[in-house]
């Protein structure tokens, strides 16, 4: 029994490693498809003025004269040793940039998920408490809005309204990390997290509604009620407790949306996270930055998916046993 579980875990890890290798190949090939290279990126139009000897020297320096396969493994080997490349513009190492940006996006993600759960779960339970009643329609409208209003539109609108009408624009000044200035940081994170949280509240709301309706139809709920379990405790302990598995799964699945949406929201609110780093890299044609950052994001996403899977096994004893 344990051995089978061990084998399964080993297979899962092996297939994840295979996938990550594929991701690395994909990112490498994708960015090699663009015209231009580190030389043109660093020198711009001046690259045309290089003599053939200078060009050759630079190609040798960057390893561009090596076969593609060699270049790929050199890049991958560098990534393993923490050498993510350098940003030609800011002269900073991409590892440094990433180490500063990653915690910011992580904080934004956690904050967004908390807000999403605070909006989605109670509204989903409210919707389910009387299916097809006006309160259910309200929940459905909120979830439709969450699914249909693009993050960039909501972000732009909120930013304009808050900045102009209430003079509230904490993002207008330099970004403060949670450690430097917690109060300012939380103010700066609030609107971005609200925008992302509203977007993922919708699927969470829908999942909560469906799961609660499903659980409530089981006999054990009727038994508990007959036994005299107080209504509130019944709804929270018995119904919500059993509806938790699909809710957690759905929340985990939203990480992809969150990391993508972070690009948009971080851009609008000038939050220096990992999404903004990718976008700046793309805009400034800093492909070393884009290549390594995209790989880091994919890695983070794969790890989160593995963790969701593990969490799902922990909270659902049935999955653990099977």
């Amino acid at each position: 029994m344990r051995r089978i579980a061990g084998n399964r875990a080993a297979r899962r890890v092996a297939s994840t490693l295979g996938t990550l290798f594929g991701v690395a190949v994909f990112v490498f090939v994708m960015l090699r498809a663009i015209p231009g290279n580190q030389i043109t990126a660093g020198l711009g139009t001046e690259a045309a003025a290089l003599t053939p000897a200078q060009k050759q020297a630079l190609e040798q320096y960057y390893g561009l004269d090596q076969p593609l396969v060699t270049q790929f493994f050199a890049w991958l080997g560098n990534m393993f040793t923490g050498n993510f490349g350098y940003s030609a513009r800011s002269q900073q190492s991409v590892l440094d940039l990433t180490l500063h940006a990653l915690p910011v996006t992580f904080e934004l993600a956690v904050f967004s998920i908390v807000l999403a759960l605070l909006i989605g779960v109670p509204l989903g339970m409210l919707s389910a408490s009387r299916a097809n009643a006006p309160r259910d329609a309200f929940g459905q409208v909120v979830s439709l809005a969450g699914l249909s209003i693009p993050a960039f539109l909501l972000a732009t609108t909120l930013l304009s309204i808050f900045a102009a009408s209430f003079g509230f624009n904490p993002n207008g000044q330099g970004f403060a990390t949670l450690i430097e200035n917690p109060l300012l940081n939380l103010q700066q994170m609030f609107l971005p997290a609200l925008v992302l949280g509203f977007g993922i509240a919708a699927p969470i709301l829908r999942t909560t509604r469906t799961a609660v309706l499903e659980v409530r139809s089981h006999d054990f709920v009727r038994t508990a009620r007959a036994k005299g379990v107080p209504e509130r405790r019944l709804q929270v302990r018995h119904v919500l407790g059993n509806a938790l598995v699909p809710i957690v799964t759905m929340t985990g699945l939203q990480f992809g949306y969150l990391l993508g949406g972070a690009v948009v929201v971080e851009q609008v609110f000038s939050v220096p996270g990992i999404g903004r780093q990718v976008l700046l890299g793309i805009q400034q044609k800093e492909y070393a930055v884009v290549q390594s950052t995209v790989l880091v994001i994919a890695l983070a996403f794969v790890v989160v998916n593995l963790l969701t899977d593990a969490l799902y096994r922990i909270i659902d004893p049935r999955v653990r046993a099977s």
């Binding site: 996938t19 693009p150 960039f152 732009t156 609108t157 102009a164 969150l258 993508g260 990718v278 994001i297």
Partner: protein
């Protein structure tokens, strides 16, 4: 359609919204817009909504209604091409993967896993950044994101269908695998594919709009809802209609597609029959 009408009034509302927007978009394709969407006319800039300019004019004196109409046309074009591409490639991939199994399944599964390892918008963004951007390449960038979704939703049902007696009977009559797949398996997964198409269209519209908002969509001056909203950011208080018009239209378009998708799911998915 009658089933949709009977079972899902919301789905019908979605259809109505989409027909209205399609009519507006058709104006741009038929050349019937009141003004040229990219012609600048500085003397009449920042005009509010009026009979002359339904949604007002922007900072270059361009007619916002004409630009929104053309933008809907562009967004719809990109979304439809992207989803059509993803549907064909993804469904074929799912069919081959589930029906042939073995090496083909392993290879397709590997590619699917790699594409799923990227957050969707980030993948579209990276692809759009390396392509020579026009409406087709943007559509392809978005399509690549949705191919694995179609593979995954079709593969499972195909796996179980191939074990069903009538498929085995078809095998014993000597039909080729492709004949069986296209004639006996494909028709049984169409409802799954149709629902996925409607839902994917709404995501594709959102993705296209997000890309053009970030400056990685159809290049200017071609009007696009996302880039109109980007340009309107700094104009909200001088000319709110420049933000409201494209914003309302993009939301309406996505709402219409979502309502239609949910309606189709309630109508076509046998698991939902008799519910609600």
């Amino acid at each position: 359609m009658t089933a949709l009408l009977r079972r899902s009034p919301a789905g019908v509302a979605g259809v109505v919204i989409l027909v209205l927007l399609a009519a507006v978009a058709a104006l741009s394709y038929a050349g019937l817009l009141p003004y040229d969407p990219i012609a600048q006319h500085p003397p009449s800039r920042f005009r509010g909504p009026s009979g002359e300019h339904l949604f007002g004019t922007d900072q270059f004196g361009r007619d916002v209604f004409s630009r929104v109409a053309a933008g809907v046309g562009n967004s719809a074009f990109v979304a439809v091409v992207a989803v059509a591409f993803a549907t064909v490639v993804g469904t074929l991939g799912g069919l081959v993967s589930g029906f042939y199994r073995g090496v083909a399944d392993g290879a397709i599964g590997g590619v699917t896993n790699v594409l799923f390892a990227f957050p969707p918008l980030l993948l579209a963004l990276s692809l759009a950044s390396v392509l020579d951007r026009n409406r087709f390449t943007i559509a392809v960038a978005i399509a690549i994101v949705y191919v694995p979704i179609f593979i995954r939703v079709t593969r499972g049902p195909v796996l179980s269908l191939r074990e069903i007696e009538y498929v085995k009977a078809a095998v014993s009559t000597g039909l080729s695998r492709w004949q069986i797949m296209l004639r006996h398996v494909l028709p049984n997964i169409t409802s799954i594919v149709v629902v996925q198409v409607a839902l994917s269209l709404s995501w594709a519209v959102l993705t296209e709009a997000s890309l053009s908002f970030l400056g990685l969509g159809t290049p200017p001056p071609a009007p696009s809802l996302g880039s109109m909203i980007f340009e309107a950011r700094s104009l909200v208080f001088i000319a709110p209609w420049t933000l409201l018009a494209p914003g309302a239209v993009v939301v309406l378009l996505v709402v219409g597609l979502n309502l239609l998708g949910d309606g189709l799911r309630d109508t076509l998915d046998p698991r939902n029959r008799g519910k609600r």
